[in-house]
Structures are given as structure tokens and as C-alpha cells.
């Protein structure tokens, strides 16, 4: 290479003027994304708090509601997200190694998996709609409490479960949609060759966001789908 690494840094077109060098810019961007993820932990945390309280209060109806969810679709979706986290990691790695085409393939796979997740979620929600499990005037829960089938179900308590189910999976899905948007943007720019071993920060930081959304689902799956499933 004609330029020394330091000269390359100062001439890197991605360097913003208020930063001294690429290293400072990269460290600042990374810290910024981690702080943002901290705010997201607290954001979802508020809903987890509501979930915690009502699960303690209304365990029977929570169990009943949980048993009415499709555990196969839930597990498959968990697997889908885990695969997508792998493809994200491999996309970042491809950028680190300077492999443009590989990046693009992994990013495209991530998008496909993300859309698959959303598709499966849409299927689940549709069946919830058909079963009248959507909170509101049409709500009518006909399930039974797993360990005590003869115990009457309090409709209000069941509705609270489903309110939280839709609020939490809905908020999660919204974050997935935003993630799909971000990764579409990344796919386009990766295809244009924007991400190189010298500069792949947007890829790396967006990856962090994607992994975070995956982790939220890792907790949502057992908490929503696996309450009192014992046979």
C-alpha cells in the first residue's frame, strides 16, 4: 500500500471532522450504540415489570393463556432469530475480512430470516384473532386452566395476559421491523462496497441492535409460551 496506516486513517472519507481519528470515532459510535441498548433494556423492562406483577397475581389465567399459544411456532421463531444472529455475526466477520460478496449474502439471509420471523408472528396473531383472544370488546377466552381444568377462568385476568402478550410481542415486532429497515439499508450499502476492514462500524453497531432484539425474544419465549406446560 502506498499510504501508511495512519495516513489512511486521516484520509478515510468516513472520518467526521470533530473526531481526531477513526479509532475515536469507532469507540464513540460503539459506546453510543451500547448506551442506546441500555435504554432499550429499561424500555422493555417496564413491560417485564408489569408481566412479573400480573403473573404473580393471576398465575392460573396466565398458564391458561400461555397454553393456548402455539409452542411449535414460538420455538421455530426462536430458532429463526438465533439463525439470524448467526448470519449477522458472519456478515460483520465478512466485512472484517474484506469479503464484499459474502457480506451481501449474509445480510440478505438475515433479512430473509427477519421477514420469516415477522411472517410467523403474523400467522400467530391471526389465529389469536380468530380465537377471540385479542383484548377489547371481542375478547372471549374459552381455554382452561392447565392443572385445574374445572376452575372457572376469570375473563379479566385472562385479558390482562393477552394484553401483555400483544404489548410485548408487538413492541418486539416493531423493533424487528425497524431492524429489517436498517438491514435493508445496510444491504444496499454493502453491495455498493461501503464496508471495508477499515470501516464497518454501521454494520457492527446495527448487529448489536439485532442481537439485542434477539435476546428480548430469548426471554419472551419461555415467559409467554412455556407457563405450566407440564403434562
Amino acid at each position: 500500500m502506498a499510504d501508511s496506516p495512519i495516513a489512511m486513517e486521516h484520509h478515510n472519507p468516513a472520518l467526521k471532522h470533530h473526531f481526531a481519528d477513526m479509532e475515536q470515532q469507532r469507540e464513540a459510535s460503539s459506546l453510543g450504540m451500547w448506551l442506546f441498548l441500555a435504554t432499550e433494556i429499561m424500555f422493555f423492562g417496564g413491560m417485564f415489570c408489569a408481566y412479573l406483577i400480573y403473573r404473580l397475581w393471576y398465575f392460573p389465567e396466565f398458564a391458561a393463556g400461555s397454553n393456548s399459544l402455539d409452542i411449535t411456532l414460538g420455538a421455530v421463531n426462536t430458532a429463526v432469530l438465533i439463525c439470524s444472529s448467526l448470519t449477522v455475526v458472519m456478515a460483520v466477520r465478512s466485512a472484517q475480512l474484506g469479503k464484499r460478496q459474502q457480506q451481501v449474502i449474509y445480510l440478505a439471509l438475515t433479512l430473509v430470516l427477519g421477514l420469516a420471523f415477522l411472517g410467523i408472528k403474523a400467522v400467530e396473531w391471526t389465529s389469536k384473532f380468530e380465537e377471540h383472544h385479542i383484548p377489547g370488546p371481542t375478547f372471549n377466552f374459552q381455554g382452561s386452566i392447565p392443572s385445574h381444568p374445572d376452575q372457572p377462568v376469570d375473563q379479566r385476568h385472562a385479558q390482562i395476559f393477552f394484553s401483555l402478550y400483544f404489548a410485548m410481542t408487538g413492541m418486539h415486532a416493531l423493533h424487528m421491523i425497524i431492524g429489517v429497515g436498517i438491514f435493508s439499508y445496510l444491504l444496499y450499502h454493502a453491495w455498493k462496497g461501503a464496508y471495508t476492514p477499515e470501516y464497518y462500524t454501521p454494520l457492527e453497531n446495527s448487529g448489536l441492535y439485532w442481537h439485542f432484539v434477539d435476546i428480548v425474544w430469548i426471554y419472551l419465549f419461555p415467559l409467554l409460551y412455556l407457563i405450566d406446560r407440564k403434562k
Binding site: L31, A38, T39, E40, G45, G46, Q159
Partner: protein, 544 residues
């Protein structure tokens, strides 16, 4: 370009570019600070207007100025506007934005475009709030308690909730920017123990903004969903718990009061050493107390719920924790007074505000301890005692700190001196007006006058009249600086780089600073508050 002579025509961030686009699309933290200055001042007027109507109504025991429903809207919107659209942004978005990069020797904040986005989010939120207020307003109190807000109120709860939700993002992004900037962009030699305590205060504030605001954000989302879809998460008739709303609301809103006071404490910590010509007493204690306040502030929220229905054991725990959180604030007060002891005091306008702050904040803080005592709280909760308590801190404390800071850094921001005699007069008027407005309210509350009531028994009238009279005086005190600051931009004395002889990197650059802050990136080799080696200023400090 620049000549050696100190003239006001030298290129700086104000005259570097002209035109509305250069302001609305700026990424310069100093210009963004001024954009915020204009916006929050606008909302201060709106909130003040509601206050005026409230105090007018309370001149007489009968409800004769407005209807009861309207009165509910007045105090609700006064609170929401003042808290979310004035106090929370005020110092961080104006003084913080302007000074943080300067004080640490950086060219700008870490994310200048996100800084501009913060302002635009604030404006969008503000416009939504304005629209809400103009088309019916909201009457739930600034606290949005359920199930009234979700099931019974027929006012614009959803719109107000959304407006505050959006303003929360503005706040989060400002906090994020500050934390990254302070960690990653300090000039060479600017170690953590050389940082101005203003920076430590803003760092602590930013932590609260980052960790607390998301919780109220999600809570408002749940309120909006509940109201729109009749969910029942917070509605007891549908199996919900109204106290859950309060827990989630106060988890943010208590730390929020520290968002409002910490930056002001930071301002005062800059002013007092300067006008005592002495380094701050106990630098490490002041720095650590800021962080402690930020952390402990998250442990006490249910002291707003003592009589709401929480368990007695929870009340005991939160009461004890609330006593704890007073300690770091007290440490600051001791450090400020110790700094002034045997100092060479000048009663400049900023110093007058700082004195006011120390006294009034102490009173507000101590009355907070009264409220933390369960036995007393049972009697004075939801009375004017509480109203007086928080106005002592927010107005006697935070707002006076803001005004002191505006005066202290006005030469740096505008390149002009404000007229000092008028400044001192206004400070005195504010102090007197403030005490006349709010001290009677302590007595009213103790005697049993409830808050948020638009009628009251006739025996409370004298104190209410005194309070309203005070509010009028206070209004004059606030208008004066607005007038003379504007006046000074054209007719004020041209300010030197360091009119106060203050320590801090911001005073080593020109007044106003160039767009990129420093002619040469600074390298720091001295301790903060090095007043033994900084000569007292000879020019443009006294007289006007």
C-alpha cells in the same frame, strides 16, 4: 479573517454563516443550544401563563374565574409544560449543549446530527403538546394517574401522552450524546479529576436520562394503548392495578427531579468558586455526590405513594431510602459554604443567584425530609405543603441556578455583557417574589389546604392573596432578564474572553467562540478551579 484586535466583528459561531437554513440545519452544538434557548423560553411563557391563571383563580375562595374542569386542565398543563418542556431540557439543552464540548476541550459533541435530531424531536413534541392544549387540553394532573386518565377523563390524554413520549426521546438522545462525549472526547490532559464539576453534574444527569426516561416512555405507551383499546392493565374493574401505573410512572419521575436539579447544582458549583476566588472545597466529594444522587435517586420513588395503597413495609423501606438520598445533596451544600468561607466574595448577579439557590434549595430539600417521614406525610401529602416543597427546589433551586448560569455564561454565549446593576436588581426581585409566592404555601399546606383544589375555605384567603402577589413580583423578575439580555445583544459592552476571571477551558477561547471552539486544540496541564493562579479580572465586571 481575524485581526489581533478584540472586536465584535471577529469570526465566531454567530456570524460565520447567516440565514435561517444555517440555523435550522446547523450541527454546531452552540447554535443548537440557542435554538433550545428560544424554544424553552417560549414554553416557559406558556407554563407561566397557566400559573398566572391558577394564581388569579386562587385570589378568592370561590371558584369564580374558571370552571372546576378548566382549573383541572390549568394545573395539569402548567405541570406538564413546566416539567417536560422547560425544566428537564433547560440547563442540559441550553447550557450543557453550549458548554460541554468547550469545557472538555472538544470541537463538538460526539454526535452533532443526533443533537440536532434531539431539538427537532423536542419541537415536534412541543407542537403536539401545543395542539393538545389548544384543542381541549388534559385534566389528569401532570401525573396521569389511572384509571382516571385511561378510563374516565374525556380530555386529550392520548395526545398529551404522545407529546411527552416524543420529548422523552429528545431527552434520552441528549443524555446519550453527553455520556459518549465526556468519555471519548476529552482533550489531552483533561483527566476525570480535572473536569469541571459542571461536567460531572451533567454526566450524572445523563445517566438518569438514559436509564429512567425509557420507563416512562413505555408506561405512556401502555396508557395510550389502554385508553385506545380498553385493555385494563391499570384499571381495577378489569383486573388491573392502578398502583402499577404509579410505580412505573414514579420510577422515572422521581429520578426526573434529579435531572432537573443536578445541572443547576453544577452551575452553582462553577459560580461559587469564581466569585469567592477560591477553589471548590472537596472536589472529589462534590463529584461523587453527583453520581450518588443519580444512583440513589432511583431507589426512592414510592415515597410519592405512601398513602396510595402500597404496603406498610414498602413504605418503611422507601422512607428510609429517601432519608439516604438527602445526604449527598447536603454534602454539596456543605462544600459550597466551605468554599465561600474566607473567600473573597463578589456579589455579582450570578453569585446572587447562587446564594439564592443554596438557601432556597436547602429549605426545599429539608422539607422533602419532612415529607419522607411517614407520620408527617400522612397529614401534608396532597396539600400545598408538597406544592411549596417542590417549587422551592424547582423554582428556588433549579430555575435560579439556570438564571445564574445564563448570566454567568452570557458574555461567552453572546459576546456581550448584560447590565450588571439591572442584573442584581432582577435577582433580588426574583428572590423576594419567589419567597412571597411560595412560603405562604408551606403554611397553607400545614393548615390543611389541599392541592389541585379550585375552591378553598375562606380562612385561607390571606395566604393565597400573598402568594398571588408574590407571583406578580416574580413575573417582573423573570421578564427583566429577557428584556436586558435582548438589549445587550445590540447595546451591551463587548465582552472580553474572560470577564469574570473564571477557571475553565471555555474562558480560554474568544467570546463568542469560533465555530470549532478553539483556535488550537487545548492540552490541559493544570487542575480545575486553579483560582490561586488566576488573577481577578480588572475590566467589565462591576458597573454597567
Amino acid at each position: 479573517m481575524a485581526t489581533a484586535a478584540i472586536t465584535a466583528e471577529r469570526e465566531n459561531y454567530l456570524n460565520q454563516e447567516y440565514g435561517i437554513k444555517s440555523w435550522l440545519l446547523t450541527v454546531d452544538h452552540k447554535r443548537i443550544a440557542l435554538l433550545y434557548l428560544l424554544s424553552i423560553t417560549f414554553f416557559f411563557f406558556i407554563g407561566g401563563f397557566f400559573a398566572l391563571l391558577i394564581r388569579l383563580e386562587l385570589l378568592t375562595p370561590a371558584g369564580d374565574l374558571v370552571q372546576a374542569d378548566t382549573y383541572n386542565k390549568l394545573f395539569s398543563m402548567h405541570g406538564q409544560v413546566m416539567v417536560f418542556f422547560f425544566l428537564i431540557p433547560s440547563i442540559p439543552a441550553v447550557l450543557g449543549n453550549f458548554l460541554v464540548p468547550l469545557m472538555i476541550g472538544a470541537k463538538d459533541l460526539a454526535f452533532p446530527r443526533i443533537n440536532l435530531l434531539s431539538w427537532y424531536l423536542y419541537i415536534i413534541a412541543g407542537l403536539l403538546m401545543l395542539h393538545c392544549m389548544l384543542t381541549g387540553g388534559v385534566d389528569t394532573g401532570w401525573t396521569f394517574y389511572t384509571p382516571f386518565s385511561t378510563a374516565f377523563s374525556n380530555t386529550k390524554v392520548v395526545e398529551a401522552g404522545l407529546a411527552i413520549f416524543i420529548s422523552g426521546f429528545s431527552s434520552i438522545l441528549t443524555g446519550l450524546n453527553f455520556v459518549v462525549t465526556i468519555h471519548r472526547m476529552r482533550a489531552p490532559g483533561m483527566t476525570w479529576d480535572r473536569l469541571p464539576l459542571f461536567i460531572w453534574a451533567h454526566y450524572a444527569t445523563s445517566i438518569i436520562q438514559l436509564l429512567g426516561t425509557p420507563v416512562i416512555a413505555v408506561t405512556l405507551v401502555l396508557v395510550v394503548l389502554e385508553r385506545a383499546l380498553h385493555l385494563g392493565i391499570f384499571d381495577p374493574t378489569r383486573g388491573g392495578d392502578p398502583l402499577l401505573f404509579q410505580h412505573l410512572f414514579w420510577f422515572y419521575s422521581h429520578p426526573a427531579v434529579y435531572i432537573m436539579i443536578l445541572p443547576s447544582m453544577g452551575v452553582v458549583t462553577e459560580i461559587i468558586p469564581c466569585f469567592s476566588r477560591k477553589r471548590i472545597f472537596g472536589y472529589k466529594f462534590v463529584a461523587l455526590s453527583s453520581i450518588s444522587i443519580a444512583v440513589f435517586g432511583f431507589l426512592v420513588w414510592a415515597h410519592h405513594m405512601f398513602v396510595a395503597g402500597i404496603s406498610l413495609y414498602a413504605a418503611l423501606v422507601f422512607s428510609a431510602l429517601s432519608y439516604l438520598v438527602a445526604v449527598p445533596s447536603a454534602i454539596k451544600v456543605f462544600n459550597w459554604t466551605a468554599t465561600m468561607y474566607k473567600g473573597s466574595i463578589t456579589f455579582s448577579t450570578p453569585m446572587l443567584y447562587a446564594f439564592g439557590f443554596v438557601g432556597l434549595f436547602t429549605m426545599g430539600g429539608l422539607t422533602g425530609l419532612f415529607l419522607a417521614a411517614l407520620g408527617i406525610d400522612v397529614h401534608v401529602t396532597d396539600t400545598y405543603f408538597v406544592v411549596a416543597h417542590f417549587h422551592y427546589i424547582m423554582v428556588g433551586g433549579a430555575l435560579m441556578g439556570y438564571l445564574g448560569g445564563m448570566h454567568f455564561w452570557w458574555p461567552k454565549i453572546s459576546g456581550r455583557m448584560y447590565p450588571e446593576p439591572l442584573g442584581r436588581l432582577a435577582a433580588l426581585i426574583v428572590f423576594l417574589g419567589f419567597n412571597l409566592t411560595f412560603f405562604p404555601q408551606f403554611i397553607l399546606g400545614y393548615l390543611g389546604m389541599p392541592r389541585r383544589y379550585w375552591q378553598y375555605p375562606p380562612e385561607f384567603q390571606v395566604l393565597n392573596v400573598l402568594s398571588t402577589a408574590g407571583a406578580t413580583v416574580l413575573a417582573v423578575g423573570y421578564l427583566l432578564p429577557m428584556v436586558y439580555f435582548l438589549w445587550s445583544m445590540r447595546y451591551g459592552k463587548v465582552a472580553p474572553d474572560n470577564p469574570w476571571g473564571a477557571s475553565g477551558l471555555e474562558w480560554t477561547t474568544t467570546s463568542p467562540p469560533p465555530t470549532f471552539n478553539f483556535a488550537q486544540p487545548p492540552v490541559v496541564t493544570w487542575e480545575a478551579y486553579d483560582y490561586e493562579h488566576i488573577p481577578a479580572p480588572q475590566e467589565a465586571r462591576s458597573g454597567g
